[in-house]
Symmetry: C2
Subunit: 320 residues, 2 copies
């Protein structure tokens, strides 16, 4: 039985899982990333977690010989070309962390590979999800940030330095919102989950309210609240989702002109809002596409399971 390991390093939690050859998570565990301020100590804990899920998987399949294919790591700013997590804005260990070297020093596995979380999701969608039959597509992940992974001719595009596929940093509104990098008007600051939260407040400033979300603390509002309120017909929330969808559709139409993908796959919590987000995305996308591309490019919901997608995607790095 061939099994791979996938690691999803997030700002809050790090998850480790074993994944079967058909993309099912067999066993997983997680621990808080933010407990670790030093990369070496984090790597110690991560290697321990890897050994634990390997042992648990082996004991669940006691009568089967397991061939361990290797370990794939997905991390924010994880660079396939250098093997380092480079200057991650949301992790406690700063600078460049040579995570592949650190793990190779602690584990004996045939392959250890690294990419960023959105690239891992794209590889997961290509290997196990709805993108199986697509040679040219772009994966868009909507979460705390807005990530992307670009496939051209059946290959993930890394670019000259490993930093291709950062569509979240497309400039969409000149002199618009500030983002984590101190730049302004990036797609991510509008259409990620946190962007939707910000757009709710912008929309509230325009429309004045009231809204069914008035009872919430400002600090606790999330994109999920906004999506649910929109589905219940709340005016401010509906206008927020509509604004988000229109802007995302326009940005995807701009992105399409670079590599002309056959499809965009959308992944993440906000996508679960369904038509209230996806209808304006698709409408605005078609409106803004150049004529030679109109009615050719699909916008498709990811079929990766949200909870396990990052682990599956990271494991797919090794399976590919």
């Amino acid at each position: 039985m061939k099994i791979s390991l996938g690691i999803d390093i997030g700002g809050t939690n790090t998850c480790v899982g074993t994944v079967s050859a058909d993309g099912v998570v067999l066993c997983k565990e997680s621990f808080p990333t933010s407990d670790y301020k030093q990369a070496a100590l984090f790597a110690d804990r991560l290697a321990e977690a890897v050994r634990e899920v390997m042992a648990a998987t082996a004991s669940n399949h006691a009568n089967t010989a397991i061939e361990w294919l290797g370990l794939g790591i997905g991390a924010p700013n994880g660079n396939h070309c250098t093997g380092c997590i480079e200057q991650p804005p949301n992790l406690n260990f700063k600078g460049d962390t040579p995570i592949i070297d650190l793990m190779n020093a602690r584990l004996d596995l045939p392959v250890i590979d690294l990419t960023n979380d959105a690239n891992a999701a794209a590889i997961g969608e290509k290997t196990f999800g709805a993108a199986k039959d697509y040679s040219d597509f772009i994966m868009i992940t909507l979460g705390t940030g807005l990530g992307s992974g670009v496939f051209v001719n059946n290959q993930l595009v890394y670019g000259h330095d490993g930093f291709a596929g950062e569509v979240g940093h497309l400039s969409v509104i000149p002199d618009g919102r500030y983002c984590g990098f101190g730049r302004r008007g990036s797609l991510e600051s509008y259409c990620s989950a946190t962007g939707i939260r910000r757009s709710f407040f912008e929309t509230l400033s325009h429309l004045g309210g009231p809204t069914v979300l008035d009872h919430l603390n400002i600090g606790e509002l999330t994109s999920k609240h906004v999506a649910e309120a929109a589905q219940q017909g709340d005016t401010v929330a509906k206008a927020t989702m509509d604004f988000t969808g229109r802007l995302l559709g326009e940005a995807l139409a701009s992105t399409a002109v670079v590599t002309s993908p056959a499809a965009f796959f959308l992944f993440g919590g906000p996508v679960k809002a369904g038509p209230i987000l996806l209808d304006p995305v698709r409408k605005s996308f078609e409106q803004h596409l150049i004529p030679p591309l109109k009615n050719k490019i699909q916008i498709i919901e990811s079929t990766l399971p949200i909870g396990d997608a990052a682990i599956i995607g990271a494991a797919a790095l090794v399976i590919q």
Copy 2:
């Protein structure tokens, strides 16, 4: 002696040339594209021109055996994947013209290939120009339109349908200028040669004048006049070139996040303006790049000869 043929189909003129294995145009001729309203008659004239330059080249090298490698065609909306010129906005023959089939029916050459003019320029730069040692780069051509050709892993990106590399249609100013497609705010409508002309009038509207170009007829103003006036220190023209450069730099910084090229190569008349355009491009580019890409990506002037670049690029299609 190995020789290729390159054809550059432009809205005004069509040029045909023979090109040596080291990228030198040996012999060429041109005729007005706009004289032909029917594709078949155009193809007749084009085949005649091909035979003429082949004969002239052969008679200039009477003592040498010539191996004809094939014919490459660069045309606006030329689609490598279908072999058709598809709905070209600036040509008299409308709809889809199956130019490869038309030429194969008229000529006996080992290969006849087609791509759009900007892709041909990119292949020319890669084969004979400054991009020789670059595996990941983007060619930007500034002319009547703003075209581009994207290389990833040493291969030109065609996308799922042949329409990749249309960076001129990136949206840069929401609800901005109208373009030929009826869309608004595209990069092409600001930073092509015709975009620079429009920006001059916008800048004149802001600053009010006077300008050293006051004596020109409105209809005859070109980007070349603007560049020359800027070099002479004219306030309106300088502000126009600065605006163009800043916007182009920002758009290239946005484009860079999709495929992370090692360089952009800029080609076309406006690029000859030199530092008055390129300084603000480079400054704005670095300002708007995301931190992981800063100080890594070069902006380089094309080394292809402007007059022959399109023929050389088309011929390189066959040499590649």
